[in-house]
């Protein structure tokens, strides 16, 4: 394989990895605080693309504004999901909130089928994402360059919120010890709602970038990236934000590189990802960065 092709694949892998990282953070934050696998996260991701689609198609907003509106709406959706499906079950055994997450995932998928229709829709791609740069034989789509930049921008905002603000401190306190945090006067429900809002907002960013990369949206589109991102969160160490970022990058790179180096095994690429997951869990059950 020539260096050019390798670099091209590397950039592709990094940009896919960024998307996984953005989605994985939503899983890892909710798990860190509630010890709950939020199965509905992939469907929140899917809803975000439809919000953006309809903001452009129905209300003919300029794309920047439409994407912003979609992110805000998705954050509200995340808060609503928490309010309806998870908050009533805070004191119930963990298995019932897990079941509630599965139910919510069913509900969102089927709601999307009824309201938006099951047929795949083409996602609008603004001109700026459509260009292809050619630098000495390396062809790079602009979306592959913009994705990492946008992801890094949002990840920096996230790091600021978590490590430099009062709310971030409250979130970290809750994930360390639920009851003590409560005793210290932290408003649990508000902080958890805030966590869901941030996680869903990042998922929305990831979703829009995903839809720009693979411009076709349909109600079950959240399943595949959702599970991949969740795998990434576990490989990195669930509950750890650094871990989710690292896991996402790794996963994106590995999936792209397997296809690049072993094209005959391309069909098995997801199997390799899961084998990697099982290996990581068997030898280092808490993931690369452990539970924080």
């Amino acid at each position: 394989m020539s260096l050019n092709v390798f670099l091209q694949n590397l950039i592709n892998g990094i940009s896919l990895g960024c998307l996984f990282a953005l989605i994985a953070i939503g899983y890892t934050m909710v798990y860190g605080i509630l010890r709950l696998i939020n199965f509905a996260h992939g469907d929140i991701f899917m809803m975000a693309t439809f919000f953006a689609y309809y903001a452009i198609a129905l209300f003919s907003l300029p794309w920047g504004l439409a994407f912003f509106a979609a992110i805000i709406l998705t954050m509200l959706l995340g808060i609503t999901v928490d309010r309806i499906a998870y908050r009533p079950l805070r004191d119930a055994p963990r298995i019932s909130s897990l079941c509630s997450a599965i139910g919510m995932s069913f509900f969102l998928e089927n709601l999307a089928i009824v309201v938006f229709g099951g047929r795949p829709k083409p996602f609008f791609r603004p001109e700026i994402f459509n260009q292809t740069f050619i630098i000495s034989d390396i062809r790079i789509q602009s979306v592959s360059l913009i994705t990492p930049l946008a992801s890094i921008f949002f990840l920096l905002i996230l790091t600021y919120i978590i490590y430099r603000t009062k709310t971030g401190l409250a979130m970290r306190a809750i994930s360390k010890d639920f009851d003590t945090a409560k005793l210290m006067g932290i408003n649990l429900n508000r902080t958890i709602a805030f966590t869901f809002a941030i996680g869903s907002g990042l998922a929305a960013v990831g979703a829009i970038l995903w839809a720009l990369r693979y411009p076709q949206i349909f109600p079950f589109m959240g399943m595949f990236p959702g599970w991949r991102a969740f795998t990434a969160a576990i490989i990195g160490g669930i509950g750890s934000i650094r871990g989710a970022m690292l896991g996402g990058f790794l996963l994106g790179l590995i999936t792209i590189m397997i296809v690049a180096f072993f094209p005959m095994y391309a069909g098995y690429k997801d199997a390799f990802v899961f084998i990697l997951l099982i290996m990581v869990l068997l030898y280092k059950p808490e993931g690369i960065f452990g539970e924080e």
Partner: protein, 352 residues
């Protein structure tokens, strides 16, 4: 006669009654009703076997669809006739030993179960060291690996094209016979010393180990038994729907079974049986909401997907308001049944 013997007699009478009922339904009712009842029986097999792993042993497994896929494919490869196989594998021919053999349905179903159990042993041995959510993810990952492999191994599984036109062997005798056998086997297992060990693992692993329960052995045991019945359920399902492809056995399939188990009550076979039956019937009844309706004179058009939406709303309501499931770990027993019966009689006598 001792009370225990009476209850045993009642059980036998009950089974004979069910057999009589199956006989009548199988010959008199129309195929649509029979098909739904078959599905009920298969869901009972799948639900009860998952309840053994998730409810009684407390190991959260998300891998049931993988075992079902193995059962369905292994049995189908064994009971399909060579001509049918040739028709199905028109792109990549089937490899040698499978392309010529054909054995009776019963043996191939059992073979499907046994292979699923062997794979369960293979997967369970390393994975059951993990706990809680990690185990859930690993088992999920494993069932996805099976799905991906089945999608790619064209010379054995025919890949994403799947197998079509499978002979319809599954009838009520198979499905409900299998269901009754599963209930009988697993409830006896639960009431044996093995079952007490499994329940003690669910309640407290450290305490169980301190009492001398071999954690690893019992976890693997329950996993393997669960996988065996999942394989049988998958084999019967394959012959009922008459067409299988790897993507039938995706994570939604596992979720359906998990929903049955949790709504019925973790650790309650009775609850699982009731909910599995209701589930299969409800999914058919809800087809009504998808067809065009006359609502107070206004015509509502048909809305595709409405059935699953209504189903998921019902599911959410049940989860939010019945947190411990229908039975919540309790079982049906003749003793309680009579207690309720006699208490009511007494109340009536007192009233008069």
């Amino acid at each position: 006669m001792k009370k225990k013997n009476i209850y045993l007699l009642l059980n036998i009478v009950m089974i004979l009654l069910i057999a009589l009922l199956i006989n009548i339904v199988q010959s008199k009712f129309d195929p649509y009703v029979i098909r739904i009842l078959n599905l009920c029986g298969i869901y009972v097999i799948l639900g009860v076997s998952l309840n053994l792993i998730n409810g009684f042993t407390g190991q959260f497994s998300l891998g049931h669809a993988g075992f079902m896929a193995i059962g369905a494919y292994v049995s189908a490869l064994l009971y399909m006739s060579p001509e049918l196989k040739e028709m199905n594998y028109f792109i990549t021919p089937l490899i040698w030993p499978f392309s010529v053999i054909q054995i009776p349905f019963f043996i191939s179903v059992i073979a499907g179960g046994i292979i699923a159990a062997l794979v369960g042993l293979l997967v369970g041995t390393p994975c059951l060291r993990l706990k809680g959510d990690y185990l859930a993810i690993v088992t999920f990952g494993f069932s996805e690996i099976i799905r991906i492999i089945f999608n790619n191994l064209q010379s054995i599984t025919n890949g994403p094209l799947g197998l079509k036109g499978l002979p319809a062997f599954t009838n009520l005798w198979w499905s409900w016979g299998g269901a009754i056998f599963t209930i009988f086997f697993i409830s006896n297992l639960i009431n044996s010393s093995y079952g007490r060990a499994l329940k003690s693992i669910r309640e407290d692993e450290v305490a169980a180990e301190a009492m001398g329960v071999n954690l690893f052995y019992h976890k693997v045991l329950s996993f393997v038994v669960g996988a065996f019945f999942a394989g049988i359920g998958g084999a019967l399902l394959g012959s009922l729907v008459m067409t299988i492809d790897p993507n039938t056995f995706n994570v939604s399939m596992t979720f359906q079974i998990i929903v049955i188990v949790i709504v019925g009550g973790l650790g309650s076979i009775t609850g699982t049986v009731i909910i599995a039956t209701i589930f299969a019937i409800l999914m058919e009844l809800l087809r009504a909401v998808e067809s065009p309706m006359n609502f107070f004179g206004t015509k509502l058009p048909a809305i595709p997907g409405m059935r699953m939406l209504v189903f998921s709303i019902i599911l959410m309501v049940v989860i939010l308001f019945f947190k411990r499931g229908l039975m919540g770990g309790k079982e049906f027993s003749w003793q309680q049944f009579f207690q309720i019966f006699f208490r009511n009689n007494k109340a009536i006598e007192e009233d008069s």
